[in-house]
């Protein structure tokens, strides 16, 4: 087992427009990317469980082979920057991904 943070080159989150936050998990090499993909530890279901959101909150989920990357996007409950939004850029929402265990 290895933590995702030791396998991925980049793990990030960021606004994709005002209603969405998109998450990118990018690997340096194809082998590691394929290993994580095969392990099925980042899926629509696992993301919903980790962030405790219903499946309808997932706007998109893509295994992006040209970029050796797994990418998913969630709907915000209110648009970015609404009063009380603590992360206007959506830039700090990825942290729970760091500790995902990969067989």
């Amino acid at each position: 087992m290895a933590k995702l943070s030791t396998l991925a080159k980049t793990i990030r989150s960021k606004n994709a427009g005002v209603d969405l936050i998109t998450f990118d998990v990018i690997f340096t090499d194809k082998q590691t990317y394929e290993r994580v993909k095969r392990a099925q530890v980042i899926t629509r279901e696992s993301v919903c469980a980790l962030y405790r959101i219903p499946a309808a909150r997932i706007a998109d989920f893509v295994e992006f082979d040209p970029g050796n990357a797994i990418k998913f996007t969630i709907y915000r409950l209110r648009p970015s920057g609404s009063p009380g939004d603590p992360d206007i850029f959506g830039a700090q929402q990825y942290a729970p991904l760091l500790d995902i265990e990969v067989p």
Binding site: A16, I26, A59, K71, Y75, R78, G84, Q92
Partner: protein, 453 residues
């Protein structure tokens, strides 16, 4: 023309200053055009709603000066999109003024300055709606209703390539754009010079964030894109950066929900069949991009509306029992606000740092709070006086919260500041919609003048 080369010095001009070393290297490569986008909806709804910039004037001027001097020296066009963070009319006027002042300062030879506006009158949108036109919601937004329109302070439309091309056709040497899709700032000169839309829009896609398509990571460095009739090549200008297959493919994902598609006014760039090749140490070539024209010409509208005046307060908690019962402390303070102001007509937000301040309900660890908490209190109300009092009650009453088992009975929270502070008024995004347009230039009036210093 076999190829066209464009440099992009900055992915959001003004937001942080352009780095000059790589820009000079880019200019020395003698590009055919210098272009950058200067806006983003990432900065939240306040700048658009209040018609301000979040970027400092000094940084905006610095970058415009670098680009203008290089553009006049090389005698190639300079193109700016989404002026002043929001692309509202006042931001376009401000950039036009800066360009004029710089021309005078440097005694530049006469040149043609083209500019266009992107603001949309609320009443125009209302009249379309009343004619039965659907203003369609994007990304989970409901279709627009008049009450939401009424709540909107300012609207900008997202231009495609069309107003840029119109101004280039008229011989503009400098183009200052209102709100526009980032990629179109670069696609427009490429299409203007006869390159296929597929390559032109991909060129724009890869250049829009400057060095974000290069590695190692480093923002605000210049990159050079070259478009031909069947490919795009992108090269990092900074001596320590490279555009690699991984960095360029990785950039396709950035800030978008799907890495394969980019929607602009007039169509969609499809990157699903893109092939990336490293053709030189610092250069990656991309082939296979395809642009599909839309069946219906729809323009995206962004709108922001004022929620109210805002004050903020801040408290700390160290007692572990109080930390465990922080929701009861907040409920106590909310009750006191309710006693004074009732249930509605204001907003009161508590952000609990150390528990779930950053992620809210998405936080998996919210049942394992830290040994100390900081709570940010935000009160929003129609008037500043009410916002101040509301925030003061919502903050100070946390001090008096009565918890049944608490040992410390002198005060439930710690104050670093026993006051509340005025913050920017609160705004929210009201429009993330599209409107059908008969003419691509309908919402984007263009102007061209000669600047003769």
């Amino acid at each position: 023309m076999e190829s066209l080369r464009i440099i992009c010095p900055n992915g959001h001009l003004g937001f942080a200053p352009t780095r000059e070393e790589s820009f000079r290297i880019g200019v020395a490569a003698r590009p055919d055009c210098i272009a950058a986008d200067s806006g983003s909806d990432d900065v939240g709804p306040i700048p658009l709603g209040s018609d301000t910039s979040t970027s400092p004037l000094a940084w905006q001027t610095h970058d415009l000066e670098l680009m203008l001097l290089a553009s006049r020296e090389l005698r190639v066009p300079m193109i700016i999109g989404s002026s002043g963070d929001t692309g509202s009319n006042s931001r376009v006027d401000m950039y036009v003024r800066i360009i004029r002042e710089l021309a005078t300062k440097h005694r530049l030879a006469p040149f043609k300055l083209g500019y266009f506006y992107s603001e949309v009158d609320r009443e125009l949108v209302r009249s379309r709606m009343r004619q039965g036109e659907k203003v369609a919601g994007l990304e989970g937004h409901a279709d627009l209703v008049e009450s939401e329109l009424d709540a909107t302070s300012r609207i900008v439309a997202m231009a495609g390539v069309h107003p840029f091309m119109r101004l280039l056709e008229q011989g503009a040497d400098v183009v200052i754009g209102g709100r526009s899709s980032d990629s179109c700032v670069f696609a427009a000169p490429a299409i203007h010079h006869g390159f296929p839309e597929s390559q032109a829009y991909y060129l724009g896609k890869v250049l829009e964030c400057a060095s974000f398509c290069a590695e190692p990571y480093g923002g605000k460095e210049t990159v050079l894109g070259k478009v031909t009739h069947d490919a795009v090549e992108v090269t990092a200008m900074h001596p320590a950066q490279r555009c690699t297959v991984a960095s360029v493919a990785g950039h396709a994902m950035y800030e978008r929900s799907n890495p394969y598609y980019e929607h602009v006014a007039g169509g969609t760039l499809d990157m699903a069949e893109c092939v990336y090749e490293q053709i030189a140490d610092k250069t990656t070539r991309i082939t296979g991009a395809r642009f599909r024209a839309a069946e219906e010409f729809r323009v995206k509208l962004e709108g922001a509306g004022k929620v109210g005046e805002r004050y903020v307060g801040m408290v700390g908690i160290r007692d572990p029992y109080t930390i465990g019962n922080v929701d009861a402390v907040i409920a106590w303070a909310r009750d006191k606000v309710r006693e004074r102001f009732g249930d509605s007509g204001y907003e009161l937000h508590y952000t609990v740092y150390g528990r779930d301040g950053i992620m809210g309900a998405l936080e998996p660890n919210r049942d394992r709070p830290a040994h100390e908490l900081c709570i940010l209190v935000q009160g929003v109300a129609p008037t500043a006086d009410m916002a101040e009092e509301l925030t003061m009650i919502g903050t100070r009453q946390m001090f008096y919260a009565r918890l049944p088992e608490v040992k410390g009975s002198a005060g439930s929270v710690a104050f670093a500041l026993d006051e509340v502070l005025r913050a920017s008024p609160a705004y929210r995004w009201t429009l993330n919609h599209t409107l059908r347009c008969g003419d691509p230039l309908e919402l984007f009036p263009t102007h061209i003048v000669t600047v003769d210093a």
